[in-house]
Symmetry: C2
Subunit: 224 residues, 2 copies
């Protein structure tokens, strides 16, 4: 299912790679140079780019940085040798991985799967006990069912779930919620929001198992 763009001017290698990648189920587009590569990139928006560093019409670094202008698609460099400078320069250009020729097909597949896994899991879920935030949809689930939070409740829960296990003081929480607008909210307001949030996400709001009070300090979300 994933689409791969291969930018490689060694025609024999390219042909072999295409065939191998296709047998693994990938759709492959091939370009034999920089210009064609960027053009195809614009056309197909591939899920992963395999990029030869030593193209005849310019080096791969410039292609990579051009791609990075508009996209954070995973890029894997194909290097002629395990040249350290190459590696370092490639990473600095925003490459996600590199592999030195000659390489074993199996290893290339492993690296492709690896960067794809990492990239797609960018839509990471935040989880604490039976409650899940899906930040990429702005949605909260409790036991698989969606629950409604208001904008402020959502942001408050987000703070806790990105800091599970950490103590958050009242001041930190209030700052994060209200500082932006320079608003002054009363001292008790946070208490009220904590209660509202607990009422919505806790199984037993009177005995919270997720959002714990740390008396005199603040609150923290606990994993179990």
């Amino acid at each position: 299912m994933p689409e791969i763009l291969l930018i490689e001017d060694d025609k024999t290698l390219a042909k072999n790679l295409v065939r191998y990648l296709q047998t693994e189920g990938y759709t492959v587009h091939t370009a034999d140079g920089q210009k064609k590569g960027l053009q195809l990139f614009g056309t197909y928006h591939p899920d992963c780019v395999l990029l030869d560093v030593s193209l005849s019409d310019g080096n791969g670094f410039s292609v990579c940085s051009a791609i990075r202008q508009s996209s954070d698609v995973p890029v894997i460099f194909l290097t002629a040798s395990a040249d350290e400078n190459c590696t370092v320069a490639g990473f600095e250009m925003g490459a996600d991985d590199y592999i030195s020729k000659p390489f074993r097909p199996r290893e290339l597949i492993a690296r492709i799967q690896n960067v794809l896994r990492r990239h797609t899991s960018a839509t990471k879920l935040l989880r604490c006990q039976n409650v899940i935030i899906d930040p990429s949809r702005g949605v909260v689930l409790k036991n698989e069912n969606e629950i409604f939070l208001s904008a402020l409740e959502y942001r408050l829960l987000l703070i806790f779930f990105t800091n599970v296990g950490k103590l958050l003081t009242r001041e930190q929480l209030a700052d994060e919620l209200w500082t932006f607008s320079g608003e002054f909210v009363g001292d008790n307001t946070l208490n009220v929001y904590m209660k509202r949030l607990r009422d919505k996400i806790e199984d037993d709001p009177q005995n919270p198992s997720i959002l714990k009070t740390v008396r005199g300090m603040g609150y923290k979300a606990v994993q179990s």
Copy 2:
């Protein structure tokens, strides 16, 4: 500033690595075995783990999968040789990268920086023209200033910003916003939300430059 946990039972190598990493500004904790490694992991919550695959008291894979139970911290395997099976198995265990001994210190640093960059940029911003969503805070900025969106407006904008350039049909949008609750909303409701959203994020809502109408089809967010 970042903390690194090194799990390595070759004392000489460990000592050299620690010294080198420290000169590069990292704080390093060292463990000479599986048990100690997991213990230190729990204590320090490092930003990155360097893990020897061949520990005397058990292989590194089990350590990696133990770590993955509770954390998605980046793990880099140190392998005795460029053994393909090792590589593949490591990635399947959730490793983020691997490096074969002997390796050049500069390359290790490059790989560490690479995984750290990737990992911290998990708090990725979604950007389209002069409007930015910070999903990790649930906040929307226009020209550096925070603007308020209601819960539904936020989710609607999130759909557009995770699909910049793509046409989204009315049906797709309505499904994504209202299907969960099985609600039936009127045919015109989405129009009204589009207007409200444009009024808040567009410089000239009558001539939207971000959220474009595609007559007969739906809408799309455009990069420029």
